[in-house]
């Protein structure tokens, strides 16, 4: 039978099968599993049916807790139901999983296994999540490759139906979920043949039905609970057998045979590794190679991890097994060993204790940890494990793949070991997220995988920044299936799609001798060599590389492709890599172009064709000189003046050498120094703003809107200009509060991302040439050095006195130092201007709880973080707990500080005699409602500390430990709409209801931005988002009004781009309100499909159309007999259609379904009008507090 081959990633492999064999799918987005849910939703949206001919219902829930509840409910009423999740998501499902298993319910949860957050969050793959769920009673089936994901998704479902035991089907997050590989597809007929129809009917029959009512979910007492719990034993005893039978049936149908434990390697192996997941592929590949060279080694791959079948494990091991290394991709601190180790060790002990060990000797079992958070797991490491097993006393509880210089758990790896790859082409590509390199490479993998006999694998590594993200694509092509589940160790082809990378990376380190290097160079072939850094020239000569050069940007421009170089670079790759005959490959690229762009019009197709032809015509081989001539060195990663930790640790991570950092280099508890983003100069802007002091009105708007704190303003004494760089610009300050002062707006050239928001908001025009403003974009490179020097000087200038600055104005707020700078947020981000404003107004006194999401990623993702400190060393103290608990987390801060403040005051009173009565009284009665008050109290507390240090008493020491709480602390709870409207809403509601003094900032992008644009309850009516592919049919939840309903919550709705002074006012009012405050901040986002550089226009349209009315609800006004609600925007002046028509998220629906788009637009218009009428009514009342009684 000729089976169709497809080239897909692991998530798609799972989703295809899951969608075929289920009726209800309840999900919630979480990396790296989101893709499965999204695909299932797309399949249903496209009308694809399951094997029974009906379209599964896909439901996005408000959390994984909610998803598992919906799954449980759907199962209990008899639907074939599934879900997809990972990490914390799986943890939130655990309570329901116990129930589902306890009730012997057939289902499969497909899990792209990911690290559970501990000392840090990590989105990458390991087994800590599934291991946390191993006590639930779910069976656990592990896949190690894309092929297995597809196959086991089906096997798990079939077995679950037969066994009545629910399954977790897991595979490694990213390594498998996101690896693109060529697999044999499974057809509907095979799926049908695998699913036992009788068991499906039985499953339905067990569903709750008032026609045959029953009670399930009783409460039981000590008398029977235990016995009842033991009733399930037969099902678990039968389960492994059922799984094996199912695997056998599958083998008959497909020819792909699996066992509960599969053995690979020498038949007479003495040293055996036991492991599961993607690492097993690498181990299998390595063992096969070693065995072929005569080494007595082998690998047992665990498929069914729960119920664990000792008999099957023993049967899989060669009799000759002498020593076993179990490898766990998880860590269980405090345990005897990790879970798999304990299972295997117990199996040996039990069997040998009873004399039933079918081996020549009782093997020594050692356990090891590997691959946490997608840490590479390579043949060198696997060889290292086999070598360790050869030792007389192999290390137990070892780690492999890291250097543990603290507890010395790590074993040596064999760094020189390499599996020969004669029949494989390996290609490495360095690109930018924005240049389409990954997309083109995915396309290449598909072209080769589906258009030739060759196998193909693609794996893509992204850096942790959202703006200017570097992508590295690892591609393998070969005649045999590719099981190398690790990054390329060496490459036959290296493509560098951006010239700037030459300054940053040792790109050719992995080039094999004689490899091909393709470089996108702005220089001609003859000039290029002269511009290469020494290290690259050296490697090219040493390794005798063939170098091809193309000016892809020029070719793209000439072909009418703008800055899209992906097709051009892809064409060059096919032309010179030899993966496919060039002609054939080019024809296939053109086919792919026609397929992708055909519907978009012949013009676009032609344009791409022209680009393909031009690429071939403009690529030239570089004549490599015999000698290195360059004196250019790679610049230092961080500046010389950077702190020791940054130089020792951060710089290594930035340079891509984090893997080599030993355990001792890292903090023990996840605590990192603040203010490290300043040391990572990324130079990603092609153009930067340049200030024209003569035109400038000094309004502060440019600085306020800058997402990256890369354009700043200062006011200072003229004398300080002495020693300023020649190009440093300065002008008289306009404003009475600093008479005679000078003023400067300065750009941080190496931190600017070039988004142009500042230029767009600049209201000043050059009268001589009105196309120019007070700031204008100019190419960065010629300005870099000069402006970097200017910026350095600028930073040295003193900050303005906060007591003099008019902080309640836009201009004044921008004279305050931003304590959030140069984050990794998207260029033109709509959230960070608010976050930065927060840091300017309150940063030196803020403690911030940050919900997981974009803001926690750009706020806290290594290598460098943006929260920083001022000259006094004060700055925001920031932490991220989870996604779902952020409001409660922040409330916890408040509780501590309130308690400590109370305690400290008690101690101050108690120690007043020793401290000094006056100081004690002043401290206790301090008024900190103004900058003066805050600074005065700080001085008092400093005096207090000085005195306490001189005192030698327990009370004094006690007070010393809590006296910081005597100073004003501003608690901020920051997160996105996914948190506030959905997963964290219950907690947020509770915190608002608590009446405690916390400030909540909701960065409302109206979609789950961080995980890629899934619908939230903040998504507006008619917008297309993931899980709302047909346009969201219901309106946005009015979170503001829900807060207002409490009547004692300060609520403001702001949109910086529409009314920046209202924004500043709202922040100050919220913070000053002694109670809970809620600020809803309109945050434009990439997911809106707009020009990010002109996003403030979106703010204006949102407000003018009534989509986002501006208001402030201040309960304090009530005390003054005023209406607490003030509307800060006018009645809608433009139709909602005008707002919607300007954003792709709405516009897309116009194209897909014009009638529905019209209908939803009309509905949206109606809702806007109604809401405005309600607000107007509320705000228009004369306020008289209700008097009770007569």
């Amino acid at each position: 039978m000729n089976r169709p081959m497809i080239t897909i990633d692991g998530n798609e492999a799972a989703a295809r099968v899951a969608h075929k064999v289920n009726e209800v799918i309840a999900i919630y987005p979480i990396t790296p599993s989101s893709g499965m849910g999204e695909l299932a939703d797309e399949f249903s949206a496209r009308g694809q049916t399951n094997i029974w001919g009906t379209i599964p219902h896909v439901m996005e829930m408000q959390s994984e807790g909610g998803a598992s509840g919906a799954v449980h409910g759907a199962l209990q009423t008899g639907a074939l139901t599934t879900t997809f999740t990972a990490s914390q998501g799986l943890l939130l499902m655990i309570p329901n999983m116990f129930k589902i298993a306890g009730e012997l319910t057939s289902t499969v949860f497909h899990v792209s296994a990911r690290s559970v957050a501990t000392h840090a969050l990590s989105i990458f793959g390991d087994h800590s999540d599934v291991m946390a769920a191993r006590t639930t009673g779910f069976a656990m089936l592990a896949s190690g490759s894309v092929q297995e994901v597809q196959d086991f998704a089906l096997i798990a479902t079939a077995a679950s139906l037969e066994a009545r035991v629910p399954f977790v089907h897991f595979f490694d997050g990213f390594r498998t979920s996101h690896e693109v590989n060529k697999i044999t597809a499974i057809g509907d007929e095979e799926i049908r043949a695998m699913i036992p129809e009788a068991a499906v009917i039985a499953h339905r029959q067990r569903g709750l039905d008032p026609d045959r009512p029953c009670v399930r979910g009783t409460a039981q007492n000590p008398d029977v609970f235990f016995q009842a719990r033991e009733t399930v034993n037969p099902f678990y005893e039968a389960c492994p057998g059922i799984v094996q039978q199912t695997m056998d049936r599958f083998a008959e149908l497909t020819g792909r045979s699996y066992r509960l434990f599969d053995y690979y390697g020498a038949p007479d192996a003495e040293r055996v590794i036991v492991l599961m997941g993607s690492g097993a592929q690498a181990a299998e590949e390595t063992a096969a190679h070693l065995a072929a060279t005569g080494e007595k080694v082998g690998v047992v791959v665990v498929r069914l991890y729960r119920p664990f079948s000792p008999a099957a494990l023993l049967a899989a091991l060669p009799r000759s097994t002498r020593v076993i290394a179990t490898l766990d991709r998880t860590k269980e601190p405090g345990a005897v060993g990790e879970p798999l180790y304990q299972d295997v060790a117990t199996t040996m002990l039990e069997a040998s204790g009873r004399g039933r060990l079918p081996l020549d000797q009782t093997p020594l079992v050692v356990g090891g940890r590997y691959g946490l958070s997608s840490k590479e797991f390579t043949p060198q490491m696997i060889k290292g494990v086999f070598d360790e097993l050869a030792a007389e006393q192999p290390k137990n509880h070892f780690t492999v793949g890291i250097v543990d210089d603290v507890t010395h758990s790590s074993i040596e790896v064999d760094a020189d070991f390499e599996i020969p790859r004669e029949k494989m082409v390996q290609a490495l590509f360095y690109g930018l997220g924005s240049d389409g390199t990954v997309g083109a490479n995915k396309n290449s993998v598909k072209i080769i995988g589906e258009g030739s006999e060759n196998y193909a694998q693609g794996y893509f590594v992204y850096d942790s920044k959202k703006a200017g993200a570097v992508t590295v694509s690892h591609l393998r092509f070969g005649a045999e299936p590719i099981r190398s589940t690790y990054l390329l160790e060496s490459a036959d082809f290296i493509g560098c799609h951006q010239w700037v990378f030459l300054e940053r990376f040792d790109l050719l380190e992995k080039a094999r001798p004689g490899a091909t290097f393709l470089l996108n160079s702005p220089y001609s072939p003859s000039e290029t060599w002269g511009h290469l850094q020494r290290i690259h020239q050296q490697r090219i000569i040493d390794k005798q590389l063939k170098v091809y050069v193309i000016d892809a940007y020029k070719v793209a421009e000439e072909a009418g492709m703008g800055a899209r170089i992906n097709t051009i670079m892809q064409t060059c790759f096919f032309a010179i890599s030899g993966v496919l005959p060039a002609d054939q490959a080019i024809a296939k690229i053109k086919d792919a172009i026609r397929k992708t762009y055909g519907k978009k019009g012949e013009a676009i197709v032609e344009k791409n064709f022209r680009a393909v032809d031009a690429a071939l015509a403009n690529m030239h081989e570089l004549e490599v000189p015999a000698e290195v001539s360059s004196r250019l060195e790679l610049p230092p990663v961080v500046p010389e003046h950077a702190p020791d930790f940054v130089k020792r640790v951060t710089a290594e991570i930035i340079a891509g050498r984090g893997d080599q950092l030993p355990v001792s280099a890292l903090p023990v508890d996840g605590t990192f120094p603040a203010g490290t983003s300043q040391y990572e100069k990324r130079n990603i802007a092609l153009s930067i703003p340049v200030w024209d002091p003569q035109v400038c009105t000094q309004c502060g708007k440019c600085s306020l809107i800058c997402p990256h704190a890369a354009i700043r303003q200062k006011v200072y004494e003229p004398a300080l200009l002495e020693g300023a760089p020649e190009a440093f610009k300065s002008v008289d300050y306009r404003g009475k509060e600093f008479p005679g002062a000078r003023f400067t707006i300065q750009v941080a050239p190496e931190d600017c991302t070039g988004c142009e928001l500042c230029v767009h908001v600049c209201p000043a025009k050059n009268r001589a040439e009105p196309r120019l403003k007070a700031i204008n974009m100019h190419p960065q490179i010629p300005l870099r050095e000069q402006e970097a020097a200017n910026f350095e000087f600028f930073l040295e200038l003193p900050e303005a006195d906060r007591r003099t600055v008019k902080t309640n104005t836009v201009k004044g707020s921008q004279l305050l130092q931003p304590l959030f700078e140069y984050s990794g947020a998207c260029s033109g981000c709509g959230e960070t201007p608010y976050v930065k404003l927060l840091s300017q107004l309150f940063g030196d006194r803020a403690v911030i709880a940050n919900a997981t999401g974009c803001s926690s990623i750009y706020g806290g993702n290594l290598p460098t973080t943006p929260w920083t400190v001022n000259r006094d060393g004060r700055g925001p103290a920031w932490s991220n707990s989870l996604f779902e608990d952020n409001a409660e987390f922040g409330l916890g801060f408040r509780l501590t500080l309130d308690k400590q403040r109370e305690f400290a005051r008690e101690l101050v009173v108690e120690l007043a005699g020793e401290i000094g009565e006056d100081l004690a009284e002043a401290i206790v009665k301090a008024d900190e409602s103004s900058e003066e008050g805050i600074i005065a109290q700080r001085e008092r507390v400093e005096a207090l500390i000085a005195r306490l240090r001189r005192m030698d008493s327990d009370l004094a020491r006690r007070l010393l430990s809590v006296c910081h709480a005597l100073m004003h602390r501003s608690i901020w709870i920051v997160g996105g709409d996914g948190w506030a409207y959905d997963i964290g809403y219950g907690g947020l509601d509770h915190v608002l209801a608590s009446g405690r003094n916390v400030n909540v900032l909701v960065l409302d992008t109206e979609v789950y931005s961080n995980t890629g644009g899934q619908m939230s309850k903040a998504t507006p009516l008619g917008a297309i988002a993931k899980f709302a592919a047909a346009g969201k049919p219901v309106g946005k939840k009015d979170l503001g009004m829900m807060g207002i309903a409490y009547s004692n919550v300060y609520v403001a709705q702001v949109a910086m781009g529409a009314n920046d002074s209202q924004t500043v006012k709202a922040f100050l009012e919220a913070e000053s309100y002694d109670g809970p405050s809620l600020i809803l901040a309109y945050s434009h986002c990439i997911a809106h499909g707009i020009n990010m550089g002109m996003a403030t226009d979106s703010h204006k349209r949102a407000v003018k159309s009534g989509h986002w009315p501006l208001y402030r609800f201040d309960p304090r006004r009530e005390r003054e007999g005023l209406n607490p609600l003030q509307l800060d925007s006018r009645k809608p002046t433009i139709p909602i259609a005008e707002y919607m028509g300007a954003e792709s998220r709405f516009k897309m629906l116009q194209k897909i379904d014009p009638a529905r788009s019209r209908h939803l637009t009309e509905l949206a218009q109606k809702q806007v009008a109604e809401r405005w009428a309600r607000y107007e009514y509320l705000a228009g009342r004369d306020f008289e507090p209700v008097k009770v009684g007569k």
């Binding site: 992204y462 013009a603 644009g1013």
Partner: protein
């Protein structure tokens, strides 16, 4: 009163033909126009460039930011099949054809060389009775050789005429070296109708905001003078039917255009300003005027006051200027 006329071989029940505007964008208003006595309708213009641009823009924004971070490989659901092309326009043609009895004239502004003919074919296939080419290349480049723009007009017209079976009209603009030569060349290229003249957005300046404003100023009856002259001059001299565009707000305005030589009179500003029912008033006025002045039909009036037939042909030419001066004496 016989109000019928013939335009590009199409029999029209009245000479009043609402021109391409927002009013001819939706089926509801098209129906209303028919009800108010329109002889035909010219649908709003299909702008190839805009369609291409919107498609490209949408693609750009849907892809923007994708494949950049590990957590958000994309930001939108896979769009599947969606209309990026002229589907909406073609659907309107089909719907208009089903809903209306009067002829439906489509209007096209192409952008690419292949685009004009490709879109014209699609429009014809969708059932349009005729096609008006809304061409506007403004010769703004001082380096551009004289006549090049004109050549482009003629070539495009020829290509479209060859590509479709339905009659093709060209909406001309007056910024050409010679209106009569162009008219003749376009007719030679196969244009069966010439609509005089296309009115463009003329820029304005906001002196306080230092901005250039582009908005369409509605026409006034004074604007009728320009087309009136050239229709008068061209009538009987070119092998194409003439249509008047610009400045017709009343029945009397329409009569003048007909007398100058127009077979149909387009209306736009008057309807945008006063609403669709105004069409009926113009038609009634026209009918009443004809009756009052003892004309039996619209056809009788056409071209009677053209340069060829009028009592003072020089009035259409330079002498006009002199006379105006003299009239002040």
């Amino acid at each position: 009163m016989d109000l019928t006329t013939q335009y590009m071989g199409l029999e029209l029940r009245s000479p009043l033909v609402p021109s391409s505007s927002p009013l001819t964008r939706h089926l509801d208003s098209l129906r209303a126009l028919e009800e108010m006595g329109a002889g035909a309708v010219v649908l709003y213009s299909l702008f190839e460039e805009q369609i291409e641009f919107e498609g490209m823009q949408l693609d750009h924004f849907l892809e923007y930011g994708s494949e950049s971070t590990a957590e958000a490989i994309s930001y939108y659901p896979a769009p599947g099949d969606f209309a990026r092309g002229p589907e909406e326009y073609l659907e309107l043609i089909q719907q208009a054809k089903q809903a209306l009895e009067i002829p439906v004239i489509a209007s096209l502004n192409g952008a690419s060389p292949g685009g004009w003919t490709d879109y014209a074919r699609k429009i014809a296939q969708a059932g349009a009775d005729a096609l008006e080419l809304n061409i506007y290349f403004l010769p703004t480049d001082p380096q551009q050789p004289l006549g090049e723009v004109e050549g482009t007009y003629v070539d495009l017209t020829r290509e479209v005429v060859q590509a479709v079976e339905i009659p093709v009209a060209v909406k001309m603009h007056p910024f050409l070296t010679s209106v009569p030569i162009m008219a003749r060349r376009l007719a030679d290229a196969g244009a069966q109708g010439l609509s005089l003249f296309n009115r463009f957005y003329e820029p304005d300046i906001d002196p306080e905001q230092l901005e250039v404003i582009t908005d369409l100023q509605l026409s006034t009856p004074a604007d009728a003078r320009l087309p009136l002259r050239w229709i008068g001059i061209l009538h009987g001299r070119v092998a194409a039917d003439l249509a008047a565009t610009g400045g017709v707000h009343s029945g009397r305005d329409a009569v003048k255009m007909l007398m100058a030589g127009a077979r149909v009179v387009h209306l736009c500003s008057a309807l945008l300003e006063r609403g669709v029912p105004h069409l009926r008033r113009v038609l009634d006025d026209l009918s009443a005027w004809l009756e009052e002045n003892e004309y039996a039909s619209v056809r009788e009036t056409i071209g009677t006051m053209s340069q060829k037939c009028c009592p003072d042909p020089t009035a259409f030419e330079r002498a006009n200027y002199i006379k105006v001066l003299q009239s002040y004496e």
